[in-house]
């Protein structure tokens, strides 16, 4: 967060502290110590409440995590009181971290109580009206882009226009989407308890943060610039770390716990140990989904990696028009899986779709060879169990090949052109250069591309879900397109076996993890062999 470090008054205060011969303990320092003492006691009380289950009821792993966190906070807070009294920098650091977390938590609860998070709905309801103004802002932004590289006297005018457009657009946008009524609702809600209490705590925490970070504190604690850097570092990574803990790390821990229960997502969960995992061992549907995804991966991954490698080396020849090709290949990755899948659904149509029509035309063409009388295959692509998964492969390859090509191209651009020139002098042909230069140089890229493609392939969900989903349980014909993630989805959100679904998720995670490690291993061995 942006905490201005030194204002004029603060600098004067620093001079005052430095000039005094004895390191005095001013009033603000005592207040800080007292606040930290309160912090410690408060955490202790909260921990007691969680432990006894009065007031705050949390169960399972989250409860243990919360107990641990509160206990740690209490201990650290008390330690910081001691440090602050000793004027040791560590106290300042601890105070900073604890109050940062407190400010975030209290701020979160304030916004939650005031309903700001869900208030986005109100904004969404009016946002359509604001869209023209958003466009005005976008135009302003584009103008600022043009402003660089023109004549200086134009640049000024363009920059002014751009700023003006953006400011007017922003203002009009905010007014048109109902900023004023929104603010009024916010103000009326925030003065009511419990929001006002959370707000007070958050404001206090922020004030303490400012105090801890002030140059006055630097002087009093005698902190070095290295120690100050640590505080800055924590401040700068905190949005990421807190977000990660709240929305990824935390849920991950919960997920592990849930996978060991029979939770239905609503009622009581009872701990059943490895029960879910043992059930998975004998679940025919899960086995079917694993077999399906194995087939899918074995076919789809090479198909989206190997041609990408070839296309990239062709694009790397630096001939005219290559940028256009590169952009065209990238289109499917940009367009998004839902749109792409819906387009393919029409293409796959067995009676009027283009694919079967193309097959028919192709067969007629081949039949021009005298003596040949082939009948064109007209498969029911999506509803025939033997072609359903193949259809998914085609869509998957279609959407991933362009991205992989660009990744390979990036890897190729790191190859010094002299390498190819030297090979040409030695009389190497196109194939020789590809085999002896391109492939070895691209080994790390290939591993990277293969890993990302594998991770994507193992999580196959949207394609079968959209292509084979006229009904709620889209397993395709004869479960032919049942994938682990679809099975997970069905268990979690259709049958509400959330414990079982979590177990599926973890198994999938472990498989992905294992495959990634194997890929890295092979690369390392290759490296040893070639060097």
């Amino acid at each position: 967060m942006g905490l201005p470090q030194s204002s004029k008054e603060e600098r004067l205060a620093v001079n005052a502290t430095i000039s005094s011969p004895v390191r005095a303990r001013p009033g603000w320092l005592m207040a800080l110590g007292l606040w930290q003492l309160l912090f410690g006691l408060g955490s202790g009380v909260a921990m007691g409440m969680v432990a006894s289950g009065t007031g705050i009821e949390v169960i399972g792993t989250p409860r243990l995590v919360l107990l641990g966190a509160l206990g740690l906070a209490a201990l650290l807070a008390l330690l910081s009181v001691f440090d602050i009294w000793r004027l040791a920098h560590r106290g300042r650091l601890i105070a900073f971290v604890l109050n940062l977390i407190l400010a975030a938590v209290a701020g979160f609860f304030t916004l939650q109580e005031v309903n700001v998070f869900n208030g986005l709905d109100a904004l969404g309801a009016n946002f359509g009206r604001g869209l023209p103004f958003l466009a005005v802002m976008a135009v302003g932004w584009l103008v600022s882009g043009w402003a660089t590289g023109v004549r200086p006297e134009w640049e000024r005018a363009l920059l002014l226009t751009s700023r003006g457009l953006m400011a007017v657009g922003a203002g009009a946008l905010l007014l048109s989407v109902g900023l004023l009524p929104g603010l009024w609702t916010f103000l009326t809600r925030i003065v009511q308890p419990p929001a006002v209490i959370f707000l007070a705590v958050a404001v206090l925490a922020v004030l303490v943060l400012r105090l801890v970070k002030s140059s006055q504190a630097t002087a009093a604690f005698g902190s070095t610039s290295k120690q100050l850097e640590v505080i800055d570092g924590i401040a700068f990574v905190s949005p990421n770390i807190l977000g990660f803990l709240a929305f990824l790390g935390g849920p991950l821990v919960i997920s592990l716990f849930v996978s060991l229960t029979d939770w239905d997502g609503l009622g009581e969960a009872s701990f059943i140990g490895l029960g879910n995992y043992i059930e998975l061992l004998t679940d025919p549907f899960f086995h079917r989904s694993l077999l399906n995804i194995l087939f899918f991966g074995v076919v789809a991954i090479p198909l989206s990696v190997i041609p990408a490698l070839a296309l990239a080396s062709a694009l790397n020849m630096k001939l005219p028009g290559m940028r256009v090709f590169r952009a065209l290949y990238f289109l499917p990755a940009v367009a998004g899986v839902v749109g792409v899948a819906l387009i393919w659904k029409q293409l796959y149509n067995a009676t009027i779709g283009y694919i079967n029509y193309a097959l028919l035309q192709l067969t007629e063409f081949v039949n021009l060879i005298p003596g040949l009388e082939l009948t064109a295959p007209q498969p029911q692509w999506l509803s025939n169990p033997s072609t359903a998964m193949l259809s998914m492969v085609i869509v998957f390859v279609f959407s991933t090949i362009g991205f992989n090509t660009v990744l390979f191209l990036a890897g190729l651009q790191g190859v010094p052109p002299t390498l190819y020139e030297a090979a040409e002098l030695d009389g190497a042909g196109v194939w020789g250069k590809f085999r002896n230069i391109t492939i070895p140089v691209l080994a790390p890229t290939t591993v990277f591309v293969s890993i990302t493609t594998t991770i994507l392939a193992l999580q196959l969900f949207s394609e079968p879900f959209i292509l084979n989903a006229p009904q709620l349980s889209p397993n395709g014909p004869d479960n032919a397109t049942l994938t682990p993630v679809i099975y997970l989805y069905q268990n979690a959100f259709e049958r509400f076996n959330q414990g079982y679904a979590s177990a599926i998720g973890w198994v999938l995670f472990l498989v992905i993890f294992a495959i990634t490690i194997v890929y890295f291993r092979t690369q390392r061995e290759d490296g040893v062999l070639t060097s």
């Binding site: 709905d121 997502g265 839902v338 792409v340």
Partner: protein, 402 residues
């Protein structure tokens, strides 16, 4: 010696031209495969429902052609005049006619008015049936044909004034390429679609701004500020990219239930303002900026906050554009989480992906509307991609591998 070298050179040149042609052929073939579905999408979005079910399929949208005759829109038909298919208008209906056939090749039939056929009084046997022979005048030629049965035809006239006759019911209608632009407004009028569009824009803008903000902050910290366990934290955070989103799907859903965010738009925004990949991308870019810049700025009394936003950010537009495009595409196209977190009944919180998926199930009878919906959903990310391509492709990919 020199002639041999020249010949060798010429051979090489010929080979390289052939090679280039081959490369362009392969690249174009793949490009066609990649682009065709989008061409098909764009063209089908402009079709009438019936046109989407046409077989054999035609790419361009077609409609029955009409022409104004005496202030009236009349359908055009496509009939052969002198062996050439010509656009003609129906002038007169209900003419007494016969179906004639050539006794030599009885499988060909011609419906022609009896007024242009003169009985010759002769009989001929076709397929074991005894038929009367007529002298039938077609254009300025007359030929002897056998009358199979009676029928009714209409008189058609081309713009050049040439006449021809055919059975009206089976006459092939002339078609012209024309677009049904109102498909787009029609699809936006369907429940949820227009709201889904504005919701998607709102969600995407917020996610992009949030991700840019947190990634710039975190990237700077990991690149330039020393603090304990910095590298360990960075590697752990980066490693979280490997966690499949699917693993946290259920617990994240439960967390959102606990926060009471499920079914609200915010559920698509707040958990996604943090991104390990973005932080990594920004860090990689910031590491390449000379560190002396901030050292001197620190001596001048600047805070890290000002250094970051005044020095680093203006130098990092390529990386920011890249990350912005990436998070834009990610947010705009995200499907699984909205599917889980937004109730099907709550169309107020729909985003385009789930609205489209629903449309795909509902509008089975009019695929043109589905395609119009896809075009709306796809045109924004594609334009953004084209605008940002310059940074996007070169930048991301390189930093993604290093």
């Amino acid at each position: 010696m020199t002639t041999e070298a020249a010949r060798d050179k010429r051979r090489r040149q010929r080979r390289s031209i052939l090679g280039k042609a081959g490369i362009y052929f392969v690249l174009s073939f793949f490009a066609l495969l990649m682009v065709f579905p989008f061409v098909y999408m764009a063209a089908s979005a402009l079709k009438t429902p019936a046109d989407t079910f046409r077989y054999p399929p035609k790419v361009l949208p077609r409609q029955a052609a009409t022409v104004e005759v005496n202030g009236e829109e009349r359908p055009l038909f496509l009939l052969p005049i002198d062996g050439i298919d010509t656009e003609v208008v129906l002038i007169e209906e209900g003419l007494e006619a016969g179906v004639f056939t050539d006794p030599v090749s009885p499988e060909e039939e011609l419906a022609w008015p009896l007024s242009l056929a003169l009985p010759t009084g002769e009989l001929v046997t076709v397929d074991g049936e005894s038929l009367e022979v007529y002298a039938v005048t077609v254009g300025d030629r007359s030929s002897e044909l056998a009358l199979k049965r009676n029928t009714v035809v209409g008189r058609f006239e081309s713009t050049a004034g040439d006449e021809t006759y055919a059975v009206v019911r089976t006459a092939p209608a002339a078609e012209s390429v024309s677009a049904e632009w109102q498909n787009f407004s029609e699809v936006l009028q369907r429940p949820a679609m227009e709201r889904a569009l504005s919701n998607t824009i709102l969600v995407t803008v917020l996610v992009v701004l949030g991700v840019l903000f947190t990634s710039i902050m975190g990237g700077y910290a990991f690149a330039r500020i020393n603090f304990p366990f910095r590298n360990a934290i960075f590697v752990t955070y980066l490693g979280s990219i490997m966690i499949p989103f699917i693993v946290v799907l259920v617990p994240l859903f439960q967390l959102m239930v606990a926060f009471d965010w499920i079914d609200h738009l915010g559920v698509l925004v707040w958990p996604f303002l943090f991104n390990a990949y973005g932080t990594f991308l920004m860090r990689q870019f910031f590491v390449g900026i000379p560190g002396e810049l901030d050292e001197s700025a620190v001596i001048d009394g600047a805070t890290r906050w000002t250094i970051l936003w005044r020095i680093y950010v203006p130098l990092s537009w390529p990386a920011i554009a890249t990350l912005g495009t990436f998070s834009f595409l990610y947010a705009w196209n995200s499907f699984v989480w909205p599917l889980v977190a937004i109730n099907t009944a709550n169309t107020e919180s729909y985003v385009l992906t789930i609205a489209l998926r629903q449309l795909g199930g509902q509008a089975v009878e009019s695929p043109n509307l589905i395609f119009a919906g896809i075009v709306i959903a796809v045109v924004v990310p594609i334009s953004i991609f084209i605008a940002a391509q310059r940074y996007f492709v070169e930048n991301v990919a390189t930093s993604g591998i290093k």
